[in-house]
């Protein structure tokens, strides 16, 4: 697999941009180091010395830009910047976004610059730790804080309009229709969703990829929530269902909150910040939808190899993981139907 490419720009182009954007007299940029992770976005860490102004001194920063693969749901960096800014202002623990730019001399694509925050995000390492109920509770509080952001917002006008569950289901069906191989379990699961739609709810700003692997831990404490490229207006329960989806429990399937703690810890934090109780039935619906969404994404990843010829073993193998979500869909909808002799 190809390593994360360096920006093809010289550091001087980035220094020029930062000088103009920050209003400093001069900015010196150190070497750019690729950061691990981020299937759709590339991230590079670098230090920048600002001569004066609000950022005077050495700042540890991250340059973030889309990778070569396009994904329909992925936000443009400028929109992701606006989301990150809104979350930061709302008090959500995120890296402070500083600038967004479109100068292609810097990395060939639009980009954003944010503060670098140290910590680990690797799910295998995080879920191998002792249970982290305090982190789950904190994540619940952060999520509730994010969900206070509601439309309409002029600063978030570039976000796509709210899609209710019915339209999300239709999109999953359309994705299945574009594939040649039938997936009976997914069809059955979609049918269940259609016949068990939750009542209407006021849309909020959702992260849409809120899961273990997309936050940083410093020791055993939450440092920051990352990867906002799929954010959008949605049902707040979508984020809760996605966080609890079994695919994101990694080494610890038994810890229902992201492989780090029990569900109660996450719910406790959310409820204390939001001032309202979580409806387990609504989480159940969104958790089933989360499994369907992940199964479809896994199949689409595999299609990037099978149909688009992208030579990537990780993508090819991901498609074979869709069946894991199908098992979870069966276990969630039909727990009594599991064969006793299996």
């Amino acid at each position: 697999m190809a390593a994360t490419p360096s920006p093809r720009s010289e550091a001087s182009a980035l220094a020029r941009f930062l000088t103009e954007a920050s209003g400093a007299k001069a900015v010196e940029v150190g070497p750019l180091t690729p950061l691990a992770g981020g299937a759709m976005r590339h991230n590079w860490r670098f230090d920048a010395q600002f001569s004066d102004g609000a950022l005077a001194g050495v700042q540890r920063l991250v340059l973030r830009s889309p990778g070569p693969a396009r994904f329909a749901e992925s936000l443009a960096p400028g929109t992701e910047f606006a989301v990150l800014r809104a979350a930061f202002v709302a008090g959500v623990r995120v890296p402070e976004p500083l600038f967004a730019g479109a100068d292609e001399a810097i990395c060939g694509r639009p980009f954003l610059v944010m503060r670098h925050i140290a910590g680990i995000a690797a799910p295998a390492r995080i879920t191998a730790m002792n249970a982290l109920p305090a982190v789950a509770e904190q994540l619940g509080r952060e999520l509730a804080r994010l969900h206070r952001i509601r439309p309409p917002r002029r600063d978030l006008a570039a976000l796509p309009a709210y899609h209710d569950p019915r339209s999300r289901i239709a999109a999953l069906r359309a994705a299945l229709d574009r594939r040649r191989e039938p997936r009976p379990v997914l069809e059955w699961g979609i049918r269940w969703l259609e016949t068990n739609l939750p009542g209407p709810i006021a849309p909020v700003l959702c992260h849409r990829d809120f899961r273990t692997g997309n936050y940083l831990l410093e020791g055993a404490a939450l440092a920051a929530i990352l990867d906002w490229e799929f954010a959008g207006w949605g049902d707040p329960y979508e984020d809760i269902g996605w966080f609890c989806c079994k695919a994101w429990r990694f080494a610890r399937l038994d810890r229902e909150a992201g492989g780090i703690a029990d569900r109660k810890s996450l719910y406790r934090g959310y409820e204390s910040e939001a001032g309202r109780r979580i409806d387990p039935q609504r989480v159940h619906f969104w958790e089933i939808l989360a499994n369907l969404r992940w199964a479809v994404i896994a199949l689409q990843q595999s299609d990037r190899y099978m149909l688009a010829g992208e030579r990537n073993l990780d993508l090819a193998l991901t498609g074979r993981r869709a069946t894991e979500s199908e098992l979870e869909i069966l276990m969630l909808i039909d727990p009594a139907g599991a064969p006793r002799d299996a």
Partner: protein, 144 residues
């Protein structure tokens, strides 16, 4: 007639050499890729050893499900390549049979005992696939 060792045994040996002897020699930033290669080889090995017999059994059960039970009524749901309630696939291509099953499930064509029988087939199909694709995941979920 092929000479031994069989394809699955060769794959098993090659995977062991890769995992135990070659992977540790790679720089740390390439070792995850070597583990992916080993995982792909393990999957291919299990599939080659198992053959298609188990899936063929489940597909024959699915064919029997359609031959023995009443045909579901046609509905006006969105279409797959086969429409809900069509007879195609019962004796034909297994993929067509699965397509028909998927289309019928999409539009909720089964009720009561037929629906329970359809769910049982979904379970059997899923467990059979996971036994090949990810047996550790199956075990971690309490399935032997």
């Amino acid at each position: 007639m092929r000479d031994p060792p069989s394809g699955p045994r060769l794959l098993a040996l090659a995977r062991t050499v890769l995992s135990e002897e070659l992977t540790p020699l790679l720089p740390p930033d390439r070792q995850d890729e070597a583990r992916l290669v080993a995982a792909a080889m393990a999957l291919a090995e299990r599939e080659a050893a198992a053959g298609d017999a188990h899936f063929a059994t489940i597909l024959s059960e699915l064919a029997a499900f359609y031959q023995e039970g009443p045909s579901p009524s046609r509905c006006a749901g969105p279409s797959l390549s086969l429409h809900c309630g069509e007879r195609a696939g019962v004796r034909g291509d297994p993929a067509d049979l699965l397509r028909r099953f998927a289309a019928d499930l999409r539009c909720g064509a089964f009720a009561a005992a037929r629906e329970r029988a359809a769910r049982a087939l979904l379970w059997r199909l899923t467990l059979a696939r996971l036994r090949l694709e990810h047996p550790e995941f199956l075990a971690a979920n309490g399935f032997a």
